[in-house]
């Protein structure tokens, strides 16, 4: 059985070590927070200037001055800290975050990431913090469906969409399989409702089985 987005989020969460500092990108990656064990001391960063962000705010908790990068009202946890944008992105660019989790349009076999622009000629470009996140974290995990709605693979030999970052992706979590992007190529870590051979036949990227 292929995974739904919550199951994918749970897989990502499973691979985040206790005590990690983590940035969860806008959209599906925010679901990862629901699966992080409360006692693991994992600290969430939001690039608009906060560490140890808590869950989404509800009801009277909502404070317009306390939002995440997706502009959703959130809460603070004990031990949180605020800082300005230059400090926040210095923290990212300086390699201090252990993991960031991002969505993607495409990931290449070398770990190139395309997640900010579909390349359509009339699209208005908008990048936000995507490139900063891609280049900064020690590990970049991508969470996406393996195939686009039109059936084309999103794990590709070369990205055709405009790039967000070069060779930055370490792991890819999809509905059908999880992958590690390694110096030796793309390794299939596990599959869901699909065989390794079928997966190989549907992707143009050479795959290796995990040992």
């Amino acid at each position: 059985m292929s995974l739904n987005k919550h199951e994918m989020a749970a897989l990502v969460a499973r691979d985040i070590e206790a005590g990690s500092f983590v940035n969860l990108g806008i959209g599906q990656p925010t679901l990862v927070a629901d699966h992080l064990p409360a006692d693991a001391g994992i600290v969430l960063h939001t690039e608009n200037g906060m560490l140890n962000m808590g869950p989404a705010a509800v009801g009277e908790q909502i404070d317009p001055d306390l939002i995440n990068a997706g502009k959703v009202p959130v809460t603070e946890l004990p031990g949180s800290a605020y800082f300005h944008h230059a400090d926040s992105f210095a923290m990212m660019r300086g390699g201090h975050l252990d993991v960031c989790v991002l969505g993607a349009f495409q990931v290449s076999a070398r770990g190139d990431l395309a997640n900010w622009h579909t390349g359509e000629p009339d699209a208005i470009p908008a990048v936000g913090g995507a490139m900063d996140l891609a280049v900064g974290a020690k590990s970049v995990y991508v969470m996406m469906t393996l195939f686009a709605k039109d059936g084309t693979p999103k794990l590709v030999p070369e990205c055709t969409y405009p790039l967000t970052g070069l060779g930055c992706v370490n792991r890819v979590y999809t509905d059908l399989a999880t992958f590690a992007i390694t110096a030796g190529g793309v390794v299939v870590r596990e599959t869901f409702g699909i065989s390794f051979d079928e997966l190989s036949s549907r992707l143009a990227v050479p795959l290796r089985e995990a040992e």
């Binding site: 690039e47 608009n48 001055d65 944008h85 230059a86 009339d122 470009p125 908008a126 970052g165």
Partner: protein, 220 residues
Amino acid sequence: MSAVKICDSTAEAVDGIADGSTVLIGGFGLAGMPVQLIDALIEQGATDLTVVSNNAGNGDTGLAALLAKGRVRKVICSFPRQSDSWVFDGLFRAGKIELEVVPQGNLAERMRAAGAGIGAFYCPTAVGTPLAEGKETREIDGRTYVLEYPIKGDVALIGAHRSDRMGNLVYRKTARNFGPVMATAGRQVIAQVSEVVDTGVLDPEVIVTPSIYVDRVVAV
């Protein structure tokens, strides 16, 4: 000469902003957005502006209203396209506004460089992407960097939480965002705050923007 002016009105706070100015506008979403100062700038009438802000306006108010009045020649921002950025979208598609898209961290760091007297810096962000096209690159210790230049403002409009009578500022939660950086990068810095308190009330350990950066303050 450098002492802060505590203004009685937002009109007084934005008085004298010249046509053709580069205006840094703080805020991320509505948090830290100097909405009343933008409204006053619309009233004030300055035009042919270059606006530097994270987004390019939402709905029909604030920055979007400034754009709708045709006062802005160019926007430098990280994320213009939002579900409610129809004003910007329309102007852009009609070829009536210039756009420079800058990664969010580079936007902050380039303003930080302007405020810190740094001439330019080598940044790893955007290497190999369309946003680095045409920019100078350099390999340092085996990694490729793009040369990025400062973004200075003639004016910065920021939203803070409290100011003392000297212009020392503190912020609230994630509303801090771009304010402290823009305060260093603007030649003239205008802050709207919730409250002006007596000098000495703010703990010297917790001041985020020291008075040296602030020219005008208005409570809204």
